[in-house]
Symmetry: C2
């Protein structure tokens, strides 16, 4: 086929898969890959965000037509994103993501399938890494090739088979194969930032470094995923929870700080805490120091308390 | 003093310290901080790279004068960097670093002091992170506030007390205090890239993100240092070396890949291997897979061999 997609080696052609398809290059490439590779039971999920009138409707018609020609099931959804934004006060990016999540969750229930394929590619990944890095707190984190996300109340397995493929290779393959796509489709993303990263920042960095920096950013995301895998392994390995389900302060103190944070974060989440942010986690880790106060209040009315050399989770 | 420098809380005012001082804002700020804070035994180490004729000589004279006014010992060195480059074929950056390392190593021997202070600040750190990220393989690695480096054959402890201080704060403090510095001093660095990152890339990213991104890059370097600390901890903790000093293949296979790499890398280095790069490490890690060949040749004539479920280091 001319595209290197590791996921294809293992993916079942007989299983049902949901595919998020906007009609743009990326997701149409995904769709054609599925068809060419003999996948039989694909549900093409397209959400019209209602943002660009007739053009939006044209995208939906295009996706519908191609999907039906492929003998795939097509599920079309439609929201009025501007109304949602006006009602909720959310940004375009946030409202769009929420609407898509709800739509995909509904598709998952309707078709009894929790596996969703998305068309993000390596150039998206490079932009994501750069953007996360600039926003802080996420380091070089990128999108994951396989990740569990709860969408519209349903646990979904989200897969990005094209994450290692360069956009230029997708485009070449699509052109050579004579496949079409819709330019400039609405994806309700924060387009201004994305476009400026793509069209200004990355070309400038490329010029300064005298090489294409996107593969380096993609590599950095892989390394970052490796670090997080190591942290998960270490949290499980380290055993700082005592038989009574409390955290052992002295054992925690001897660990690298990043592991202290990981272990405490894991402990709080496993006790059902939601809404843990970096600032709150800092205060919880602070309980390990001898001159700290004895407790940290948690969202929802509970608290984390230090007592007799242990950290105890007290629910509300 | 108006500058937040955590290192000052613990640093001994009576101990001897070497300070690398070019005469520019950063290192002059470092020097004045040391004087203001009551450090008594500072050796001001200045290397004239011989690159800009009279201006270089002027830098040396300036550093010498200020150092003597402070009652510090001043050690001036001089090299002809262009001649070194011509003879060795090294780049300006590489030759400059090597010359500085040899000079600082010689200072350490002469003054019997292995602690070297450098004036790198948070803006340098942000540029370093961005540059390392663009070059690949190093992720978000930055400079370290405290690191052991062998310079001119001598193990040195290199400290960067200003690494969390913004350049604008250093400059404000220097101006308010009436302290002078030399603009545009020769630092033999890869100035073109550095300057473009500083003057073009970072301002563009700042404009796109609508916030100063340098603190985020500095933060990313801290997180990266935390990850590497975790890896060191995990390599020590994991115990994959058997009593005969061989690596246990089955135990290694069960580890996250990044820890496999860390453990094998640590094992090779502890057996005295030098010149381990990423590509060679990949091949060594490959020995864990069942269908790999039985051995990988190492630089210097030795090899790493898989036998009876163990990896054995065989020296040349």
């Amino acid at each position: 086929m001319g595209l290197e997609i590791p996921w294809l080696k293992e993916a079942s052609r007989r299983s049902r898969w949901l595919a998020g398809v906007s009609g743009g290059l990326d997701s149409m490439a995904l769709l054609h890959v599925l068809k060419e590779e003999g996948f039989r039971d694909v549900v093409v999920c397209h959400l019209d965000h209602g943002l660009r009138g007739e053009e939006s409707a044209g995208d939906a018609e295009f996706v519908n037509r191609v999907g039906e020609e492929m003998d795939f099931v097509v599920e079309l959804g439609r929201v009025e994103l501007r109304e949602i934004m006006a009602a909720s006060g959310a940004s375009l990016e946030t409202a769009g993501r929420k609407a898509r999540h709800e739509f995909f969750g509904a598709c998952a229930r309707k078709y009894r399938c929790g596996r969703l394929l998305l068309g993000h590619h390596a150039d998206d990944q490079a932009e994501t890494v750069l953007w996360n890095l600039m926003r802080g707190s996420l380091g070089c984190r990128g999108m994951e090739a396989l990740v569990e996300i709860t969408m519209g109340g349903r646990k979904m397995e989200v897969l990005r088979p094209l994450l290692e493929v360069r956009k230029v290779d997708l485009e070449r393959w699509m052109r050579e194969s004579g496949f079409g796509w819709r330019e400039d489709v609405s994806n309700a993303e924060n387009d201004v930032v994305r476009n400026r990263l793509r069209n200004e920042a990355l070309p400038l960095l490329e010029q300064i470094a005298n090489r294409d920096v996107r593969p380096m950013l993609v590599k950095a995301a892989e390394v970052d995923a490796g670090w997080r895998e190591l942290l998960e392994w270490a949290v499980e390995k380290v055993g700082v929870v005592d038989p009574q389900g409390r955290l052992h302060v002295k054992a925690l103190r001897e660990l690298p700080e990043i592991l202290q944070r990981g272990a405490i974060s894991d402990f709080l989440r496993s006790n059902g805490l939601e809404g843990l942010n970096s600032e709150l986690l800092n205060r919880c880790v602070g309980l390990l120091s001898v001159d700290a106060g004895p407790a940290v209040n948690l969202p929802g009315g509970g608290y984390l308390r230090r007592r007799a050399g242990r950290l105890v989770f007290v629910g509300q």
